[in-house]
């Protein structure tokens, strides 16, 4: 692909030098040692599945991700989740559970942010509805989703402490949202080329773009929130890159040594990153094994790509 690995590493290293605390540099170096093997595994997995993966499989994979995002934003903005009618499978199987703290509505005090959060919640609900409509009776049910222990485990992995509550404050909400949005962008980018239907391709690219709009707005707000929030975003980005096995395909929010901001999560060719389905699963499972799951999907996704 068009990635310039060497320059990517430079961009990452700039982040390390300017903003990432010492312990991250060292854990990132350790991760590089086994990163190559993990990447090779991911590529093999992708090649193996490429022969049999159908558009239905890919759209259901996307639906699993949209269930997660929709639940996160809907709880954050209303305190309640999706209605049961939006999480059952096309064949009538009931949707799974959502593990989340009581009264999860974020205590918004900034209308400008609250309005945006509601916009994103609506977008993600629309994506769920669109994909369910496109899949019809083939739509999978929502799998079990964890929005409590998952964030705590991720905080631990990122060196941010033993717990993280994305619903506790406006800044925490932005950082929670940050975890999902860039992953959504990379997932759709990786999946788009696998779709055989030009109609689905067009729709998937359209959803891909909306996730990028979301990601940009969230990252801009994190930039404005200041150095602490920026540093946390960098630790999360580094963790995502470690979990997907590349260790060099994710850049947090900050300012590079050249003085340019890093609002866009992209490579040296100014292209956003693509992730294989295996890489995406590794991130959202928190490193859990394919088919077994973990983190946000404690019992894995539903469908054939899981």
């Amino acid at each position: 692909m068009g990635k310039n690995i060497e320059r990517d590493m430079e961009k990452d290293m700039e982040n390390n030098e300017t903003n990432i605390p010492e312990q991250h540099s060292s854990s990132r170096r350790n991760a590089i040692l086994f990163g190559g093997a993990a990447l090779a595994g991911a590529l093999l997995a992708r090649n193996a599945s490429a022969q049999t993966v159908t558009d239905t499989d890919i759209l259901n994979f996307a639906l699993n991700l949209e269930y997660l995002e929709a639940q996160f934003y809907t709880y954050a903005t209303t305190g309640a989740g999706l209605p049961a009618s939006s999480t059952t499978s096309g064949g009538g199987t009931a949707g799974g559970t959502v593990t989340i703290k009581a009264n999860a509505m974020v205590p918004f005090s900034t209308p400008f942010l609250q309005q945006f959060a509601m916009e994103v919640a609506q977008d993600e609900q629309n994506h769920v509805a669109f994909l369910r409509g496109a899949l019809g009776t083939s739509a999978v049910a929502q799998p079990n989703i964890d929005l409590l222990n998952s964030f705590n485990a991720l905080a631990m992995a990122a060196g941010l402490g033993s717990s993280f509550d994305p619903f506790a404050s406006e800044t925490n909400f932005l950082l929670g949202a940050f975890i999902f949005e860039d992953v959504g962008v990379t997932a759709y980018q990786g999946a788009a080329g696998l779709l055989s239907s030009k109609t689905y391709l067009d729709k998937a690219v359209g959803i891909h773009g909306v996730e990028a709009y979301h990601a940009a707005s969230i990252r801009t707000r994190i930039y404005q929130a200041g150095a602490t929030a920026q540093g946390i975003s960098q630790a999360i980005a580094a963790t995502r890159a470690k979990l997907d096995g590349t260790n060099n395909d994710d850049i947090g929010v900050g300012t590079s040594s050249s003085g340019a901001a890093t609002i866009v999560d992209n490579d040296a060719n100014a292209m956003t990153y693509a992730r294989t389905t295996s890489q995406v699963l590794s991130i959202v499972y928190g490193g859990g094994a394919a088919g077994t799951g973990g983190a946000f999907y404690p019992n894995a996704m539903n469908g054939t790509i899981k």
Binding site: F112, Q122, K198, L201, G209, N269
Partner: protein
């Protein structure tokens, strides 16, 4: 609003079909880019006014994109550094650039955002030129002065508009381009025949969507008069480019349809916007490209 939306989507679909009928589906004859492992075919002809009539190739589409990236790169580089693309990035016979000067940024964050976008657009120009290699078109003549004045007049903002006058006017100038880039790449994605090229296009497309989301967030935060200016520009784009616009507000940061899917535009619709000419039919130059684009996709057919 819903009816309005449906009309826009319908209009979009109809002209898209016309576009496909006019140029052929192209998949059979399309040639992948050099970087994807194959040769290609193109020419450096400038705005001849002849719509493409044979199969459209990936090379044609990437050269169309390259024209747009030249425009964006010149705008952002001049705004952030006072100088545009260097001679090594524009081909052997570039058309020249009118207007554009360094913006006086007093807010360091805005300066940092602008510097990032300028670097991204420069990287897009360089990537596309490298990918197209000998088939890359030269930079066409670009106007960053009269174009903005004409757009301001047509949009009802005033008789002149200088996006380089100050950091907030700069944001409005950026707004003119970013959502258009998103819709152009989205429209082109399903026309590309090579999966590798689709991957490249999707990566550039999403970067443009990040830029658009960032610029829209900053203008919504800033409020009037800049928010009103942006929405007048949005209405102008909608009139010239088949709708495909979402009025910007603090609760509508994303530009997307009622399914929360980003809009797409045909090359015809994009040409009408960058030529600042909403009149239906063949338009081959004007606005930001006073002598038209370079390549094979240079004139609107509808």
């Amino acid at each position: 609003m819903d009816n309005d939306h449906i009309r826009r989507v319908f209009a979009n679909k109809v002209s898209r079909r016309k576009f496909l009928a006019g140029v052929g589906a192209g998949a059979g004859t399309a040639t992948a880019l050099a970087i994807a492992g194959c040769g290609g075919s193109s020419s450096n002809s400038s705005g001849s006014g002849t719509p493409p009539s044979t199969g459209i190739t990936d090379t044609d589409i990437f050269n169309f994109a390259l024209n747009l990236e030249y425009l964006e790169a010149e705008f952002y580089l001049r705004a952030t550094t006072g100088s545009g693309l260097s001679s090594s990035d524009v081909g052997s016979n570039p058309g020249g650039v009118t207007g554009g000067s360094a913006v006086s940024f007093t807010n360091p964050a805005l300066a940092a955002y602008a510097a990032e976008i300028a670097a991204d657009e420069l990287a897009h120009v360089r990537f596309l030129r490298k990918a197209l290699a000998g088939l890359a078109v030269d930079e066409p003549a670009i106007d960053l002065s009269n174009s903005f004045n004409a757009a301001a007049m047509a949009a009802g903002i005033g008789s002149t508009f200088n996006p380089f006058a100050d950091q907030y006017s700069f944001l409005v100038g950026a707004f003119v381009f970013e959502d258009v880039g998103v819709t152009a790449y989205h429209g082109a994605a399903s026309l590309l025949s090579s999966a590798a090229n689709l991957g490249y296009a999707a990566g550039i497309y999403a970067t443009e969507a990040y830029h658009a989301g960032e610029i829209r967030t900053l203008i919504a935060q800033l409020g009037d008069p800049y928010l009103t200016y942006a929405n007048k520009i949005s209405a102008l784009r909608a009139a010239a480019g088949g709708g495909a616009e979402t009025t910007l507000s603090s609760s509508t940061i994303v530009a997307s349809d009622s399914n929360s899917i980003a809009y797409d535009r045909t090359t015809d619709q994009v040409l009408h916007i960058v030529y600042l000419n909403a009149t239906a039919g063949v338009v081959s130059k004007g606005g930001f490209f006073p002598n038209g684009l370079n390549g094979t996709i240079t004139a609107s057919t509808t």
